[in-house]
Amino acid sequence: MTDNKLINLVNITKSYGDNIVLDDLNLYIRENEFVTLLGPSGCGKTTTLRIIGGFETPDKGQVIFEGKDITKLPPNERQVNTVFQKYALFNHMTVAENIAFGLKIKKKSKAYIQDKIKYALKLVNLDGYENRMPDSLSGGQQQRIAIARAIVNEPKVLLLDEPLGALDLKLRQDMQYELIRLKNELGITFVYVTHDQEEALTMSDTIVVMNQGYIQQIGTPEEIYNEPKNAFVADFIGDSNIFPGIMVEDKLVNIFGVNFVCVDTGFGHNKPVDVVIRPEDIDLVKPDDGIIKGVVTSLIFKGVHYEMEVHACDHDWLVHSTDLFPVGTEVGIWVDPFDIQIMNKPESEDEEAVEVEL
C-alpha cells in the first residue's frame, strides 16, 4: 500500500433543507485500499459515496481525485464506477449488453468488448450467462452482474453502496470473500458503504466509522475493535460494556466505586471518562478471586460461546465465555488491565454518542 492519496475529500458539507447530512468532513483514500464507510442509517455514509461518484454535489468543500478538483465533474467524466444497492441493472438488456454498456459508450472495438464480457463474467463466476435477462437471475447473480458491469470499465476506484444488503446471510458471507478476492485480483481501490459491522471488519483495510455526518474514528479493523475512540464506536462495533468511570490517576480507573488497574495514561486526575470492556474480555472466576463479586442473572447459548449477564455493583455486565455458569451462581469478575479501554467523555453535543439499534 502506497501513501498516495487517490481521493481527498476536503471540508465537505452537505445538507438537505434543514437536515445537515455531512458537516465539514475530511477524508482521504489511498490507492489500492479497501475503505469501508460504516455507520447507522442516516450517518452520511451513502451521501459521501454519492459525492465521490458525482451523483450529489457538496454544498461546500472539494473532491480531489489524483490531485485534480473534480467537485463539479458529472459522473460520466469520473474515473470511478459504482455498484448500487439494488443492482440498478438495465432490465431491457441482456447480461452481455449490460456489461458492454460502458464500453460501447467509450466506442471500444467489438472484439475488445467480447473479450471483456468473457473476462468479467469469469471473474464473477457467471460464465455462460451472456444472453440471460437480468430479471431471470437471483439477487446474488444480479449483484455479480452489476459488479462485472462496473469493473469492465477499469475504474481506478470502485464504489459499492451496501451491495450485499439485499442478500441473505449465507450468500452475503460468500460474497464477502468474493469481493476480497476481486479486490486483490483487480488491484484497485474499493470504497464500500455498509451498516454491517461484521462485513466491515471482515473485508476492510481501513474502516471509517461515521455518525450524524461526522467521522467518529478512522482505523484498521483491529484498531476500531480493540481501541474504540468513543462510546459510539465501541457500541456500534460488536457488543460491549460501556460504563461511566473516573480516571483516578494514570493506570487506575474507578468504576462504580471500585478501582480497576488499566494501562491507559494521560487522562489526568479524577477525570470522568467512559470505560469500555468487551464481553469476551471479562473472565468469570471464583467469587473471592475476582475484582468484584456478582450473580449470574441470565444465560443464553450462542453456539460458539455462552452469553451471560452478571449483576454486580448494581449494574449488568455482559459476559461471553465458553465456560458455563448457571443462573444464580455467585461469581467473581476479573478483567486484565490491557482489556480495559478508557475513552474521553464526548465534549460537545456533536460528538455525543447516540443509542444504536442493531
Partner: protein, 293 residues
C-alpha cells in the same frame, strides 16, 4: 390462510367431487362471475351481433357486400382522412405528453400531484360539452376572433378545417397519453439512470439508451389510447368539422342513423380489423409487453 383455503378447495376437483358450485365454490372464481356476465352481455354478444349484421343483408343471407362498402371511393377517403388526422393528433399528443411526463416524473415538488390533477381535471367534464366549447371558441364569430377583431387583427378561420379536428382530438385525448407515460417514468429507478451516467453515458445517451426504451410500454399504451378513439370518433369531426370533413366514424354513424345496420356493421368490422392490425404492428415494438395489450 386464505390462500391455503383456495388451494384446498381447488385440489379435490375429481369427477367424484362435483360440488364445485354453490357455497363451496372457490372464492376467487366466484368473485369473477359478475365480470363474466358483464363481458358476455355487453362485449361478446354485441360483438356477435355486429359480426352477424355486418355479414348479412336485409334478407338475412350471408354477404360480403357490407364489408366491401369500404372500397367505395367516398368511404375509402373517409377512412384515409380519419387515419391521417388521428395519426397527426397521436404524434402531436406524443410530442406534447412525453416531455411533460418526463418533467413531472423527475420533479420532486409537492406540486406534481397538483399538475397531474390539472391534466386529469378536464376528463371530469362532459366530453361533448368540452368539444362544443371549442366550437364556440373557434367559430368565425367565436371568442378567438372576437379578441382578434378587438385588436384589429385579421380573423383566423380554423373551424371546419382538419386543424380544428386535430385540435379537438389533441385536447380531448392528451391526458390519455400523459398518464401512461408518466406512470412508467416514475417507476424508472433513479439509480438505473445514475448507473448509466456512472458508466460514462452523457445526458443524451442516457435518454436514448435507458429512459426511452424503458418508457416504451407507456408510450405504446398512450398511442393506443389516443389513436383508437381518434380514429373512430364522429363527435369531434361533426362538431368541429361542421360535416364538411367526413371521417370513417361519421360514415358509420350515418348508416346507423338511416337505419342501415348492415352497412354500418360491415364497415365497423373493417375498422375493427384495421385497429387490430395497427395494434399488432405497434406491439412488435414493445418487447416488455405493455400494461394495456
Amino acid at each position: 390462510m386464505k390462500i391455503r383455503n383456495i388451494l384446498k378447495n381447488r385440489t379435490p376437483r375429481s369427477p367424484l367431487n362435483k360440488n364445485t358450485t354453490g357455497p363451496n365454490m372457490p372464492k376467487a372464481r366466484w368473485l369473477s362471475f359478475p365480470y363474466m356476465i358483464w363481458m358476455t352481455g355487453f362485449i361478446i354478444i354485441p360483438l356477435i351481433v355486429i359480426i352477424y349484421y355486418g355479414l348479412t343483408n336485409q334478407d338475412n343471407n350471408f354477404t360480403l357486400d357490407n364489408v366491401a362498402l369500404i372500397l367505395d371511393p367516398m368511404n375509402l377517403k373517409a377512412l384515409g382522412q380519419a387515419f391521417e388526422l388521428s395519426l397527426v393528433s397521436t404524434v402531436i399528443c406524443l410530442l406534447l405528453a412525453y416531455p411533460l411526463a418526463m418533467i413531472l416524473s423527475k420533479s420532486k415538488m409537492n406540486s406534481t400531484n397538483f399538475i397531474v390533477m390539472i391534466i386529469i381535471l378536464p376528463m371530469w367534464m362532459n366530453f361533448l360539452l368540452r368539444t362544443i366549447a371549442w366550437q364556440n371558441i373557434l367559430e368565425k364569430t367565436g371568442i378567438i376572433n372576437t379578441v382578434l377583431k378587438f385588436f384589429k387583427l385579421p380573423a383566423v378561420n380554423i373551424i371546419n378545417t382538419p386543424a380544428a379536428i386535430i385540435l379537438g382530438m389533441v385536447y380531448n385525448f392528451l391526458p390519455f397519453m400523459v398518464l401512461p407515460i408518466y406512470n412508467v417514468m416514475i417507476k424508472i429507478d433513479q439509480d438505473v439512470i445514475n448507473a448509466a451516467r456512472d458508466l460514462g453515458a452523457n445526458g443524451v445517451q442516457t435518454f436514448l439508451k435507458i429512459i426511452l426504451p424503458l418508457s416504451i410500454p407507456g408510450v405504446i399504451s398512450g398511442i393506443t389510447m389516443v389513436f383508437v378513439p381518434s380514429l373512430t370518433t364522429f363527435v369531434i369531426s361533426a362538431i368541429l368539422g361542421g360535416n364538411k370533413i367526413v371521417l370513417i366514424g361519421n360514415v358509420i354513424e350515418q348508416q346507423f342513423r338511416v337505419g342501415n345496420w348492415h352497412a354500418g356493421s360491415g364497415m365497423s368490422l373493417v375498422l375493427m380489423i384495421f385497429i387490430l392490425i395497427s395494434m399488432a404492428i405497434l406491439s412488435k415494438y414493445d418487447k416488455e409487453g405493455s400494461s394495456l395489450w
